[in-house]
Symmetry: C2
Subunit: 337 residues, 2 copies
DNA sequence: CTTGGCACTCGTAGACTGGGAGTGCCAGGC
DNA sequence: GCCTGGCACTCCCAGTCTACGAGTGCCAAG
């Protein structure tokens, strides 16, 4: 359908347009790239590419720019992910290695990714449901109130207040804590509901209401906090790019957790990159934005996702390289801590 | 120096300019506001106001707009903080009351404030140094590693990893935990360094290195985490306002914790509002932005600050009312939890 | 001190223009 | 059959010009 030269021309159009931000014409194309054919030939090929929907012209008698479909073909067939330079790798490594807790890892990651790609970076906190329990702590904080603290193997700490409706002896708390940890230590969160099913039966009758209250809060947390925490950085980079008009829409999308979740997409194999171009991410107002996302995790299993959002007119090979590299390093850091 | 009529004219100029976003001329002013004098008289007064630096004209033969100095006079002398409507109060109350932990309180607050004022809202997490210890937890997480968890009376939870360089018996950990809590429970963080000074001497010689390591991490946390955590929301509101050009600068400033800290200013009496107008906040690139901030806290003592950032051309009375109200409610919520 | 009148300034919007980049098409050459 | 040079055409863009109108400053009179 499209011979090699037409593909080469499409690639050249994408590359030139990305770097110059101006519609590219047949003459400039034939000159800058050693295509070995005349501008007239290029024009003929361009006409075909346009007819097939890969490129378009903003106005009659202007150069051509890629369509979403054109970028898609470019990403799928015409480009290869560009590995980072050694210096960049080392920078990532040292920057991330300095982090001292999960919050810090995430906030460093998102800033790093934004700086590396000069786009908006988005990072999702490691999912609760796919982590496992490292420790559970119960702390009495006031009459009738316990603080339930969950620590996961990824270092994430969740806290919830439990109303116990009544005073509670210290050793009851200690007993309950011991029981909980015995049941749950090392369990993945997916197994938690089953693992605690018989727990109320194992405490004394008088402590049972408290145990039930604690468990219900615990299970609630697993569900509610599945609306995962997501952070972003680098919004300033939007002001440079092509979002002169749609900027408001983009900023609004960034502040909606739910929208961000959908942008990053479903977790999949951590090794694969997801690229969504323009209208492919089914979101009103983000039709001129692309999202490049990847899962990250430990032991080859994805915990959560991270990625960047930028204009469709974006350096795909370079950005994909950066996202992939950062995702890998974050996985390593998490596994090592 | 400025008689009542001139002040009334300045007030009218500020109000009209804020609502229309267009330089206001003498004729429109005399008509819209019942000043009882002719446009010519208004012109004379405007000439005086301009000479004194309260207003200026963007171009010769355009209307006048307020200068920073003009806004300052308006805020200090010509306006009163506008209380929120009953409906708004109730909305704040119910929205904040649904929060179930500190993170949630802060994130709800910042979104609420952004929506209420239609500006960018900024909220600082309750300061560690001004809180007190509610509980300290030590959890062994791996060979040679302890997780130190700090819970404050404001519900903030801090976590740090301690390298113990060596295996550790469970009862050593328990002993250390008990000692720490005995020393520190209820203490304000300011008192912590003194309170733990003699602690190493009170553990057995073999556990002493671990105790020292834990303490050094604890003290480090107090210092480091004084670079407080700050969040913002409502960046999309910038895209509507006057920041067509300086938007990049503003977005960059918002992503710098340090800059945000400086914008919110020093904590003071929680009851007072700080208003910084244009160049008054000594920051490059934020010369057309104003910041309205207030402390919030419990028991009349400020824990941290919150505020909004918007264009100098802002509805000061309304925004000040919203900031003050939100600050009060947050204080109440924190005190009640 | 206020007011109406008046000349002046200057930014803005609209119309017009020439130049240039780029295209599509066509006829001729390998 | 595909490539190429030539050519007419389209249309954006930047610049110039003009008319207009809002707003001012000043002045002389009330």
């Amino acid at each position: 359908m499209l011979d090699d030269r037409k593909l080469a021309i499409l690639r050249a159009i994408v590359e030139d347009y990305v770097s110059t931000n101006e519609p590219v014409g047949s003459k400039a194309l034939a000159e800058r790239h050693a295509l070995g054919v005349s501008p007239a030939t290029v024009r003929n090929d361009m006409a075909v590419l346009e007819e097939q929907g890969y490129i378009t012209q903003p106005h009659t008698s202007a150069g051509r720019i890629p369509t979403d479909k054109g970028y898609r073909l470019f990403v799928d067939k015409l480009s290869t992910i560009k590995p980072l330079s050694g210096a960049e790798r080392r920078a990532i490594e040292t920057f991330l290695a300095g982090a001292y807790d999960l919050d810090d890892v995430v906030s460093r990651t998102v800033r790093l990714l934004a700086q590396l790609t000069r786009q908006v970076a988005v990072v999702q906190y490691p999912s609760l449901i796919r982590s496992s329990v490292r420790h559970i702590e119960l702390v009495p904080v006031a009459a009738g109130r316990l603080l339930l603290i969950l620590i996961t193997d990824t270092g994430r700490v969740e806290q919830r207040v439990v109303e116990t409706h009544g005073e509670l002896a210290d050793d009851s708390v200690a007993q309950l804590r011991a029981l909980l940890n015995a049941c749950l230590d090392g369990r993945s969160f997916g197994e938690v509901p089953l693992a605690v099913a018989d727990l109320p039966a194992r405490v004394s009758a008088e402590d049972r209401p408290v145990a039930v209250a604690v468990l219900s809060v615990l299970l609630e947390t697993l569900v509610e906090r599945n609306e995962e925490k997501i952070v972003f950085a680098g919004a300033a980079n939007l002001a440079l790019g092509d979002f002169s008009k749609g900027l408001r829409d983009v900023l609004e999308a960034l502040e909606e957790q739910v929208v961000l979740m959908r942008l990053l997409g479903e977790a999949g194999d951590p090794a694969t990159l997801t690229v969504r171009i323009g209208a492919e991410n089914q979101l009103q107002g983000l039709t001129s934005a692309s999202v490049i996302a990847a899962g990250y995790g430990m032991d080859g299993q994805a915990l959560a996702r991270l990625g960047v959002l930028g204009p469709t007119r974006m350096d795909y090979p370079g950005t994909m390289g950066a996202v992939r590299a950062v995702a890998r390093y974050v996985g390593q850091i998490l596994a090592g801590s």
